[in-house]
Amino acid sequence: DQQVKQNSPSLSVQEGRISILNCDYTNSMFDYFLWYKKYPAEGPTFLISISSIKDKNEDGRFTVFLNKSAKHLSLHIVPSQPGDSAVYFCAASARVGGAQKLVFGQGTRLTINP
């Protein structure tokens, strides 16, 4: 049972344009959502997050949008840069008695073309 889904395994975007990565979830108990970026041979690096009480969070070039009714979130990167090429994971969390357990999507490989 895949509770968090990233339906696009890959995405290719021109440098300077907007990259939009999508994520869907099924569990209504999730109350915190995160995006991680992963380069080869490295662990995931935290990028941006959003609480379920918000519908938008912005940090520099990165914006995450949350649509709770549709159980959908998206990550916008603008403008896209070559260094943004990586695998992006969407993760959702439901706190159970303390620290969070993260449920990850399958990842989307983003390639930024010069």
Binding site: Y32, G43, P44, A99, L102, G105, G107
Partner: protein
């Protein structure tokens, strides 16, 4: 400030053997979670340790066990290795009780079972 460190970085084991992976959390963190990332998939939650006890467990067999030491570092043990245990094993640390915050990941241990 040292981040999450894992050892070893790579490991090759024979089917049926046992393996121990190690993790030191980020300074100031008291909770360690372990994840398994198979090729082409997102990380999957194995279990979480806090105060030297297993607090949450994902859908993994009892062959997977762990330990947390008084200094918050942790070990993941896998017995009776199967070919399907070949994966990247990630350790993440966080601080219990701090809500809506990201988990920090190590670089992972690449385990190959032959």
């Amino acid at each position: 400030d040292a981040g999450v460190t894992q050892s070893p970085t790579h490991l090759i084991k024979t089917r049926g053997q046992q393996v121990t992976l190690r993790c030191s959390p980020k300074s100031g963190h008291d909770t360690v979670s372990w994840y398994q990332q198979a090729l082409g998939q997102g990380p999957q939650f194995i279990f979480q340790y806090y105060e030297e006890e297993e607090r949450q467990r994902g859908n993994f067999p009892d062959r997977f066990s762990g330990h947390q030491f008084p200094n918050y570092s942790s070990e993941l043990n896998v017995n009776a290795l199967l070919l399907g245990d070949s994966a990247l094993y990630l350790c993440a640390s966080s601080l219990v009780g701090v809500v809506d915050t990201e988990a920090f990941f190590g670089q992972g241990t690449r385990l190959t079972v032959v």
